[in-house]
């Protein structure tokens, strides 16, 4: 047949002018991969060809003719034939394609026939984000995905994430299920996966798509599919990158002179003698006595400006008729920002770092035409290093441990010094890092998946049976190297003498080594499923799946926890016009009592593709797809807390006590929390309705969903049980919340000559509400948590500062005009924060706390992607923002004398600045009304939002004729992560994603700029 066409074509050429060119060319994707098997037609003719495995093609054309390139999954492009016999073309990934395939639970679905709420992304789009954890690459790209990155520490920087916000009051009960190649992964395992191994990622948000997971589906599901080999010659891709990391935001502290001034002022406010004399202040100011009056910026002394990270990946893929393979390896290394203080005499590396090596081999073997085997093997080896026993960032913040004037960085004779003016007399932070040793965590994560599929087409067309066995294990152990004693001295510049610290260590102690097994988990998962896929007359399309799933997982020496269940799923559509999905799971875990173990979780999804109707198509020809879809169902969550078997009352072994007159310790046994025989899973009724569409030849696409989830039977501990019960109680299935919102994306793409452009706006909004939580009845309505959002902060309402008039009125003995004050032994003074007395009893106490600000998890997130391709150049930019949340910092993060003095403290209240002050009067007293830890108020809470240039990716694909023959493609790129941030908060110096109500002293989130080279063979 092919020959015949060729002959026909050949004949055509001969019959026309001899102006034909034998055009050669190459087609690749915007990420540099050669595109295989795409169709190329000459417009207005039936002539055409296909690309080979290297993306190359050959066609005889005439000048001026127009070629159409049509490749599945890519935007169709046209190009006019000009002079020259070589044509090179880059195609943009098609984001709105109707045939786009999305991975869902136990299978795939096409966008056109999907009735559920699924957001999906190709790993190509996140592969070049220079971070180690896959969840850090997703924010702003998937509608309904909420994440917060709490720390930037190498190896511990994976974001917390939630799907459509949170809806359970059970604190640990909001984590989505993570499924990689149909097998459950943990959060930790997910953050270890190398993005280079991933094909695509979906999040499943509604009941229709999550019901197949039944008792584990209520928090949404993140589904990952890894790459597999495709038919063709071996393709080798090598990628090497090097990046520099700098903190997104680093703190700025006052120098010795200004700190001393403020310390004196605070002491004066407290009625104490100033700590520093005029002479001291002068010496701090001039810096003339660097050892007697040091001025050390401990941040600059301890941290570098930047640190390197490196990433290298290689993957080989291809396949023959019988065997297809994808094999990859990767190495990732991220260094910490702490300077190198290691002792030249030993090689103890005390810095933060993370190193990871991983490999994956995904093999598909077609044993016969109907039987295929699959073997996936992957391991990840990680090493996390950190200084032992200290969080260096928190050390920098903590005023009680060191002051800028405590001690010089090193004494004049080269010995270490210590903070002699603090209570603990600790050695300086550089001395402790240099000598304190490290804690190194080594982790091995392995997964093996063996699968076999037999299709029974010979018996019943469309029937197949698959069995899978997956095993995963994590082994984590740590090695600590440390030395507990070393000498430090206080140098007195007055008489040039050295005094050893109070610990009196004259010599270095020996290093000790400590080893621990931290984690050892095993997880065995067995799945067997029957699949039936059939179309009748091309009109009635059926897909039926029945699955048995069993999982047993255990950590350390514990008895494994078991999960077992059945899942059935029926997808039907009529001419892709009327869509119906029925999904159900019947499953349970042994965490609950025998009678409460198994539950049925059904869901229904339906859709109507109105654009498939002729009348519609005729009236609105510019609409390519318009689909209304909806789903409703019940899913569950089996996440519990406390005792593993909550239905049981378990007696516990307690600590030993010495009894009798001997010093023998005798064992004790006590009654554990009361069992709850009725404990069972949490349930969520989820409703989703959405609109899915494409317009203007697929240039504009959108997918918008509204949802309402009602979460009930939530496990919380009753707060309304009198303590005279005399014992703890297990959680009950009582709390109820609702969660509603909308999310979606709108994309637009077009081609202007050789410039391809696309943009995509992703938006998510989710707002929850506590409907019932068995809270104790409160004295005043504003104390009630029911009706608020989950995690709503409560605190005082700030109404400025106490004025000098307020204080005078308090002291005049006439109570008429007195401001409300706290019950405190430290009387309030002018310049203290003044709070609203909600119950008007003249006292500021717990009864005056009401909802302030917003929960810490944003209700609204946005992502906006812009992409350009021009010839070999491509650029992609993602802006990401989070809105409508609050956070605050307490303790060593902000409070004077707990934290180092910060620029904000210069804006403190003084009688002169009473009108313009932005911070209360300074006091050395740690627990006054001005303490954010003791009196949380809306003064401390920042109503936050931020917008980030989350990632940038610019690349240049070298033209083919620049590169040697056996190299397929070469791509140079620069990319960046967290490049800049605009945010509403100025009060604090922390990243806007920190955990609220903490000192905010976790390791700085990182900004990365990265240079890379990719070569394909």
């Amino acid at each position: 047949m092919k020959k015949l066409i060729f002959i026909v074509l050949f004949t055509c050429f001969n019959s026309i002018f001899a102006q034909t060119i034998n055009l050669e060319g190459k087609v690749s994707s915007d990420t540099g991969e050669a595109l295989f098997g795409g169709n190329i037609f000459i417009e207005g003719t039936s002539r055409g060809t296909m690309t080979d495995e290297d993306g190359r093609f050959q066609i005889a054309v005439r000048q001026g003719e127009i070629l159409t390139f049509s490749f599945i999954g890519f935007v169709t492009a046209t190009k006019t034939v000009e002079n020259g016999d070589f044509m090179e073309l880059t195609l943009a990934t098609d984001r709105g394609s109707l045939d786009e395939v999305m991975v869902v639970g136990y299978g795939e679905t096409k966008r056109i026939t999907n009735t559920g709420a699924v957001s999906s992304i190709k790993a190509e789009e996140i592969k070049y984000v220079p971070v180690s954890s896959v969840q850090n690459t997703l924010s702003g790209r998937l509608p309904g995905f909420f994440s917060q990155q709490r720390s930037g520490q190498p190896g511990r920087d994976a974001s917390d994430f939630f799907i459509r916000g949170v809806s359970s009051l059970n604190a640990g009960g909001n984590r989505p299920l993570i499924i990689v190649d149909d097998v459950q992964y943990t959060y930790d395992q997910l953050s270890q996966i190398n993005v280079n191994e991933i094909e695509s990622i979906s999040i499943l948000k509604d009941a229709s798509t999550t019901a197949v997971y039944g008792i584990k589906g209520a928090n949404g599901v993140l589904v990952i599919k890894t790459r597999r080999g495709k038919l063709g010659k071996p393709k080798i891709n090598v990628r090497v990158e090097r990046g520099i990391q700098t903190p997104v935001r680093s703190p700025d502290f006052l120098d010795s002179y200004h700190t001393a001034l403020l310390v004196n002022e605070a002491y004066e406010n407290d009625g104490l003698q100033p700590q520093f004399s005029e002479n001291d202040l002068e010496l701090f100011r001039t810096g003339e006595d660097p050892y007697g009056h040091p001025n050390v910026s401990w941040y600059d002394a301890v941290f570098k400006d930047f640190a390197f990270q490196d990433n290298a990946n290689i993957d080989i893929s291809g396949g023959t008729d019988r065997l297809k393979y994808f094999v990859s390896g990767g190495a990732f290394s991220q260094n910490g920002l702490v300077k190198d203080f290691s002792d030249p005499l030993n090689e103890v590396n005390n810095n933060y770092f993370y190193r990871r090596f991983n490999y994956r081999a995904n093999l598909d073997f077609d044993v016969t035409n109907s039987l295929s085997l699959r073997l996936d093997v992957t391991s990840r080896f990680g090493n996390i290093n950190e200084p032992r026993g200290q969080n260096v960032v928190s050390e920098i913040y903590d005023f009680s441990k060191i002051h800028p004037y405590s001690s010089p960085f090193m004494n004049p004779n080269g010995t270490y010094s210590y903070a002699y003016d603090t209570q603990d007399n600790l050695p300086t932070i550089n001395a402790r890092i240099a000598n304190g040793g490290y804690n190194r965590i080594r982790r091995t994560d392995s997964n093996i998946l063996f699968g076999v599929t037999q299709d029974f087409n010979s018996l019943i067309e469309g029937l197949s049976v698959t069995g899978r066995l997956a095993y995963s294990s994590v082994e984590e152990n740590s090695r600590q190297v440390f030395r507990s004693s070393f000498p430090t001295y206080h140098y007195s510049s007055e008489n040039d003498s050295y005094n050893i610290d109070p610990r009196g260590n004259y010599a270095y102690g020996t290093y000790a080594v400590l080893g621990n097994l931290n984690v050892s988990t095993k997880n065995l998962n067995l799945q067997a499923f029957l699949n039936y896929d059939k179309s009748f007359n091309d009109d009635h399309n059926f897909n039926f799946l029945f699955l048995y799933n069993r999982q047993s997982s255990g950590a350390q020496a514990n008895v494994p926890a078991n999960f077992e269940g059945y899942t059935a799923k029926i997808n039907y559509n009529y001419k892709e016009k009327f869509l119906l999905d029925l999904n159900a799971a019947y499953n349970g875990t042994d965490r609950f009592g025998k009678d409460n173990r198994f539950g049925l979780f059904p869901a229904i999804g339906a859709g109507y593709n109105i654009s498939k109707e002729d009348f519609f198509h005729n009236s609105f020809p510019f609409i390519d797809l318009l689909k209304i879809k909806g789903s409703y169902g019940v899913v569950g969550s089996d996440i519990t807390f406390g005792n593993r078997y909550l239905y049981q009352q378990v007696y516990q072994s307690g600590g030993g006590y010495p009894f009798g007159e001997s010093q023998t310790t005798y064992p004790t046994v006590y009654e554990g929390s009361l069992g709850n025989p009725n404990v069972t899973w949490e349930k969520a009724r989820k409703f989703n309705i959405g609109l899915d569409g494409n317009m203007f030849e697929d240039k504009l696409s959108f997918d918008i969903n509204y949802f309402y989830d009602y979460r009930f039977d939530q496990l919380v501990t009753r707060e309304d049980v009198p303590q005279i019960l005399g014992i703890g109680i297990s959680p009950n299935n009582i709390a109820e919340t609702s969660n509603q919102g909308f999310d979606g994306q709108i994309g637009y793409q077009n081609t202007y000559g050789e410039l391809q452009f696309n943009t995509n706006l992703v938006f998510s909004y989710a707002r929850n509400k506590v409907l019932f939580k068995a809270e104790a009845q409160q004295a005043y309505p504003w104390l009630t948590e029911t009706g608020q959002q989950i995690g709503q902060p409560f605190g005082y309402t700030n109404i400025g500062f106490y004025s000098e008039d307020d204080i005078a009125s308090l002291n005049d003995g006439n109570a008429d005009n007195d401001a409300a004050v706290p019950l405190s032994d430290v009387p309030v003074q002018a310049g203290d924060l003044k709070y609203k007395d909600l119950n008007e009893d003249g006292v500021i106490n717990n009864f005056d706390q009401s909802p302030i600000g917003k929960p810490n998890l944003p209700t609204t997130t946005l992502g906006w992607t812009l992409g350009f391709n021009y010839k070999g150049f491509s650029a992609r930019v993602l802006f990401q923002g989070a809105f409508d949340y609050s956070f605050s910092v307490i303790g060593t993060g902000i409070e004077p004398f707990k934290s180092q003095f910060q620029p904000l403290h210069l804006q403190r209240w003084t009688p002169q600045t009473a009108e313009t002050a932005e911070f209360p009067r300074l006091t050395s007293n740690p627990s006054t009304i001005n303490s954010s830890a003791a009196y949380m108020s809306d003064f401390w809470l920042v109503d936050a939002w931020y917008v980030r240039l989350k990632s940038v990716d610019i690349s240049y694909q070298l033209p083919d004729n620049w590169i040697p023959f056996d190299i397929n493609n070469v791509r140079l790129y620069v990319n960046a992560y967290n490049l800049f941030t605009v945010t509403s908060y100025v009060k604090y110096q922390q990243d806007p994603e920190i955990s609220t109500n903490t000192a905010g002293d976790s390791y700085f989130n990182q900004k990365v700029v990265n240079l890379g080279l990719q070569v394909g063979f």
Binding site: T368, S370, L371, Q423, V452, Q454, S458, G467, L469, P502, G504, L524, L526, A528, R550, S552, V559, N562, R644, Y645, Q648, V650, Y651, S653, G654, Y657, P658, F659, G660, E661, S662, Y666, P667, T668, V669, Y670, E671, L674, E719, D720, V721, P722, Q723, I724, L725, G726, I727, I729, A776, A779, L823, S824, D825, V826, N845, N846, F847, N925, P926, S927
Partner: protein, 586 residues
């Protein structure tokens, strides 16, 4: 080809079967075997009661250990409850420390001083005792122990011990809150009625006394057969001692005649009845008459550090260590002898100690004269055994608590705020160079208290009889006070009842200092408003040349309001229980 396919099917089937059978037959238990239940702990086959004994141990472990008990950060590194009285203040630099809040009244029903205002804690103790009492019956426990009138079954003894501990927890509640809900023997479950009303003060006292009466003859007596393992057990002496204290408290003005809310049966008796003093006096007399094992031992300081001495009636076992020394001992020594001086006894307390012949400072009939430049010479010997002051010999050094002295440095660290440190409960480290391990039991009942309880109750009921005099003289003899020409140990003859009351109160304050007595005594005597209206004072000793100047300075201005005679019941507890009535004023 067909046969090939058939083989493949068989292979496939075989694989599936192997895989299924492998993964279905795991070899684990269906429940963790390490989790055990009531049936295992109270086993019907455990005739030695091995597991039940462990449970009983946990019942014992909920008795509080009073040394440095009041602390918010970690176990036993805080303050003595007495640091919330006029005897001492806390040296802690924390402006919000618990004893300071107690002395200045900075607490409400919703922001309570958690370490001291326990509520659920005692109900937890009550529940675990009740669980033991109701479950031990099914254990076929063998063996007997020696009681007052012959052998008693071990099971009865154990049960009686648990009932004593339960009564003790109730008493801890009653002295803090007044009448409280009596929950009965059967541990309650979720779904049971938990909205119990408070029983009246009278019912609560009667319940406790009734329990003590019914268990006293099922308990062991001292000397205990095997003190190494059983020295801590509840004895008949403990039951009778607790009874004297309960009756004494119940007879005291706060509850007997001075009820802060005179018609409120929850906060005390609604009338005054002198027979309540008689009951207290009789209970103490019965103790003194029947339990002749107990006596005052010769050396006051040995009472607290010598295990098994005949003065100790009941104690919560502590370990052999130097923790009391390190937490309360003077700063300024080198490790490992460097204390953190948590407790600063007040000048008010130090001034209460009489001269060596038992006469007050300034009493011109004394043979001694108080010397303001050597204020600690010729004083009641208990002063030196209770308080460390400037020039005290300690660890072979003369303490320097003057400003800038070795033990009172200028640095802003935790150190004495009054120029005094605590000495009581510590080992005899005057003439050693280093601390060594000392037994630090928390002695809850000792014979001296029985004597004082007797003297107080008897004086209130019968007046200052010879018996009352005798008790005070016995205590003063043991303390080392000189008998004087008239052998009255400094006491006046023919005191009125009021004078005698004052003498007893003062004796009790000195003898029982830091033993969690005075905090409750000033409440039940209803003198807390006076005590807390005085300023707590300390010394600033300044050195000018060789001369030391002793300057008295104010260290704390406490406050008091009447509602503070009883603690507020936790706010949530009142909210969660419709029948729970809050104490007046809260």
């Amino acid at each position: 080809m067909k046969s090939m396919n058939g083989k493949i099917y068989k292979l496939f089937l075989g694989l599936v079967v192997i895989v299924m059978s492998y993964s279905c037959s795991d070899d684990f238990e269906s429940l963790p075997v390490e989790d055990f239940t009531s049936e295992f702990v109270f086993s019907t086959t455990d005739s030695l009661g091995i597991q039940a004994k462990k449970y009983l141990n946990s019942v014992y472990s909920q008795i509080e250990y009073g040394h440095n008990r009041i602390d918010q950060s970690f176990f036993n590194s805080g303050d003595y409850l007495d640091a919330a009285t006029d005897d001492a203040i806390s040296s802690s630099l924390d402006q919000d420390n618990a004893v300071l809040r107690l002395a200045t009244g900075r607490y409400t029903a919703s922001s309570r001083v958690k370490d001291e205002m326990k509520w659920g804690y005692y109900y937890k103790g009550i529940r675990s005792s009740s669980t033991f009492i109701t479950s031990i019956d099914r254990v076929p426990l063998r063996g007997t122990v020696m009681g007052a009138t012959g052998p008693i079954p071990l099971k009865s003894a154990w049960k009686a011990e648990a009932r004593f501990i339960r009564a003790l927890h109730y008493f801890e509640l009653v002295k803090r809150y007044g009448g409280v809900p009596l929950v009965g023997d059967e541990p309650r479950q979720l779904g049971d009625d938990l909205e119990l009303p408070r029983n009246t003060f009278e019912e609560s006292i009667n319940y406790i006394v009734g329990e003590l009466d019914s268990v006293q003859d099922s308990l062991r007596v001292r000397p205990i057969a095997n003190p190494a393992s059983d020295g801590h057990v509840v004895t008949k002496g403990a039951a009778l001692a607790l009874k004297t204290r309960v009756l004494l408290y119940a007879a005291s003005p706060l509850f007997n005649g001075g009820n802060i809310n005179s018609e409120n049966e929850l906060t005390g008796y609604t009338n005054y009845d002198p027979l309540r003093w008689k009951a207290a006096s009789d209970a103490a007399r019965k103790f003194m008459d029947e339990l002749t094992y107990y006596s005052l031992i010769p050396d006051f300081s040995d009472v607290f550090i010598t295990e098994g001495n005949s003065e100790v009636i009941f104690f919560r076992q502590g370990s052999e260590n130097s923790s009391v020394e390190l937490h309360n001992g003077p700063v300024g020594f080198t490790a490992p002898n460097d204390g953190v001086g948590r407790t600063s006894p007040t000048q008010n307390f130090v001034e209460t100690f009489p001269l060596l012949d038992g006469k007050e400072i300034g009493d011109t009939t004394s043979v001694y004269r108080f010397d303001p430049l050597n204020p600690y010479d010729n004083r009641d010997p208990r002063l030196d055994l209770t308080v460390l002051h400037n020039n005290s010999l300690w660890l072979n050094k003369q303490l320097e608590t003057f400003q800038g002295g070795l033990n009172n440095p200028k640095a802003a660290i935790q150190k004495t705020k009054t120029s005094y440190y605590l000495r009581k409960f510590m080992g005899d480290f005057e003439r050693t160079d280093n601390y060594s391990n000392v037994s630090h039991d928390w002695i809850m009942f000792r014979y001296a208290e029985i004597l004082l309880n007797f003297a107080e109750a008897e004086n209130e009921y019968s007046g200052p009889t010879n018996e009352v005099y005798q008790v005070l003289q016995d205590l003063r003899t043991r303390a080392g006070i000189e008998p004087g020409d008239n052998s009255m140990y400094g006491l006046q003859g023919n005191m009125t009842q009021d004078q005698m009351r004052e003498a007893i109160h003062k004796e009790r304050r000195l003898e029982m200092a830091f033993e969690e007595q005075r905090y409750w005594d000033i409440r039940r005597w209803k003198i807390a408003d006076e005590v807390y209206s005085q300023v707590f004072q300390g010394l600033v000793i300044s050195q000018s040349g060789p001369v030391l100047n002793y300057n008295i300075v104010d260290v704390l201005n406490p406050t008091f309001e009447e509602r503070r005679y009883l603690y507020p019941i936790p706010y949530e507890e009142v909210i969660n229980n419709d029948n729970m009535v809050q104490n007046p004023g809260w």
